[in-house]
C-alpha cells in the first residue's frame, strides 16, 4: 500500500522551530515527527512512502533513511512549496489506483501527530506543548522497546539514570539516556527528551526539555520549552538565550547533527555552547587551595 506524507513548511507562529530546520524532523518523545507518522502508517499496512518536502528535504532524508528500519520504501519528492492535500492528490495520485491506503491516511499533512488531528503542532508554542502532553500515552508503541511505563503516567527510557532521591510526578516522560540528579523534581507535565541532563534540585514542570540539553542545579524550568541555551515561555512566546551555561545549555559540542540545538542556531551565534567559566574558576580555586595546603608541609 502507498501513502503520501506532506512535510509542513515554515510556520511563523513557531519561528525557533521553523528557522532552524524542517518541522518534520522536530524531536518529539524520542523520535521526530516524520518517524512517528511512518511508524503509525506502516502499522496500518503502508509499504511505499512518498514524502513531499518543500525545504530541508536532505534533513528529512537523513532522519528517515531509506525506510529499512520500518520495513518500508521511501521516495523523497522535492517541492517548491508545501502542497495542500487536494493539490497533492491531483498531482501525485493516479486516478483509479487502488493500492493507496484508505483516506484520510492516503495523504497526510504532518502538521499534527497521528490520531490527534484536533491538536495542531505548529500553530503556537502552546499548541506544540499541548500536543506533546496529549501524545505521551500514545507514544509507547510496541516498536519502542527502550521506554517503559514505570508507574501510571510516568514513562522512562531503559537507559535513563535517575537518582533515588529525584521525584517523578505524573504525567512525565524521561527519555533514553537521560540523567536526573539527586533531589530534582520532574513533572507534572514534564518531557525530557533523549540525552538531556537535569542536575540536582532542579525543577521541571509543565515544560519540554529538548535533546542534549543541560538543566543546571536548582534551576526552575516551568511553562517553557528549553533546547540548548534557548528558553521559550510557551504561554507568552517570549524567548531568551540564557547567557550562563551552568543554568541552561546545550550538551552537544557538535553543531552538525540535525537535531542538535536547533533553537540555539535559530537565535544565532549567541547560542553557541561555551565553556562553563564559573565551573572552571571554581575548579581553579579548589586546585589552588589544594596546592596551598600542601605547601607548608
Amino acid at each position: 500500500m502507498k501513502t503520501l506524507l506532506i512535510c509542513p513548511s515554515a510556520r511563523p507562529a513557531v519561528p525557533h522551530f521553523s528557522e532552524s530546520g524542517p518541522l518534520a524532523t522536530a524531536p518529539i518523545l524520542g523520535a521526530c515527527v516524520v518517524s512517528h507518522w511512518i511508524e503509525h502508517l506502516a502499522a496500518l499496512g503502508a509499504r511505499d512512502f512518498h514524502i513531499i518536502a518543500a525545504n530541508g528535504w536532505d534533513n528529512v532524508r537523513a532522519a528517515v533513511g531509506d525506510g529499512a528500519r520500518w520495513g518500508v520504501r521511501i521516495n523523497m519528492i522535492v517541492s517548491g512549496v508545501e502542497p495542500t492535500r487536494d493539490e497533492a492528490v491531483s498531482r501525485y495520485q493516479s486516478k483509479g489506483e487502488s493500492e493507496w491506503l484508505p483516506a484520510p491516511d492516503d495523504v497526510v499533512s504532518m502538521s499534527h501527530l497521528p490520531g490527534c488531528p484536533d491538536l495542531p503542532l505548529f500553530e503556537s508554542y502552546a499548541s506544540w506543548f499541548a500536543a506533546l502532553i496529549a501524545w505521551m500515552p500514545r507514544a509507547l508503541t510496541p516498536a519502542r522497546v527502550r521506554v517503559v511505563e514505570v508507574r501510571p503516567g510516568i514513562w522512562v527510557g531503559s537507559r535513563a539514570r535517575i537518582s533515588p532521591t529525584a521525584q517523578l510526578i505524573a504525567p512525565c516522560w524521561v527519555g533514553d539516556q537521560v540523567f536526573v540528579n539527586a533531589g530534582a523534581v520532574i513533572g507534572p507535565g514534564a518531557i525530557l527528551e533523549d540525552r538531556s541532563v537535569v542536575d540536582s534540585k532542579a525543577h521541571v514542570t509543565q515544560s519540554w526539555i529538548g535533546p542534549e540539553t543541560f538543566v543546571g542545579p536548582m534551576t526552575w524550568v516551568a511553562n517553557s520549552l528549553a533546547w540548548g541555551s534557548t528558553l521559550i515561555d510557551w504561554r507568552t512566546d517570549s524567548s531568551l538565550c540564557v547567557p550562563d551555561p551552568f543554568l541552561l545549555s546545550s550538551l552537544s559540542r557538535l553543531q552538525s547533527a540535525a537535531t542538535t540545538d536547533r533553537f540555539g542556531r535559530a537565535l544565532g551565534a549567541q547560542a553557541r555552547p561555551e565553556p562553563n567559566l564559573n565551573l572552571i574558576t571554581a575548579l581553579h580555586v579548589r586546585l589552588d587551595r589544594g596546592s596551598n595546603q600542601k605547601l607548608p608541609g
Binding site: 536548582m218 534551576t219 526552575w220 524550568v221 516551568a222 517553557s224 528558553l231 515561555d233 507568552t236 517570549s238 524567548s239 531568551l240 540564557v242 547567557p243 550562563d244 551552568f246 543554568l247 541552561l248 564559573n278
Partner: protein, 101 residues
C-alpha cells in the same frame, strides 16, 4: 544608571544591562545610597535588555544587604519578558516583589 531618593523610597532606573561588566559598580553605587535607610527600594528594569548571573548576583547581594533591616521592601519594576524568564528560572521572583505599572 540613575539613583534617586524620594522620602523613604530609593529608586534605581536606567539600567541598560546588568552583567559582569557593571554589576560591581551597581552594587557600590546602590550600597552608598542605602545609607539613608530607605523603606522601599524600587529597581526599574524596564530598560534592562540583558542580565547574566553576575547581574542576578548583584540583585541577590542587595537582597542580603537589605535583609538586615526589617520591613524593607524590594521591588523590581516592569522587567522585560526575557528578564522575567531569567528571574523565574533562578527563582529570584520569590525574593523580590515584581510589579508592573
Amino acid at each position: 544608571m540613575k539613583i534617586e531618593s524620594l522620602d523613604e523610597c530609593l529608586r534605581i532606573s536606567e539600567i541598560l544591562e546588568l552583567t559582569a561588566v557593571n554589576s560591581a559598580q551597581f552594587q557600590d553605587e546602590v550600597r552608598s545610597a542605602l545609607g539613608d535607610s530607605p523603606s522601599v527600594i524600587e529597581i526599574n528594569l524596564s530598560q534592562t535588555r540583558f542580565m547574566d548571573s553576575s547581574g542576578l548576583g548583584a540583585l541577590f547581594a542587595l537582597y542580603r544587604a537589605t535583609g538586615k533591616h526589617e520591613g524593607v521592601v524590594l521591588r523590581l519594576l516592569n522587567p522585560m519578558p526575557e528578564i522575567q524568564q531569567l528571574l523565574e528560572l533562578t527563582q529570584m521572583q520569590l525574593l523580590f516583589e515584581i510589579v508592573r505599572r
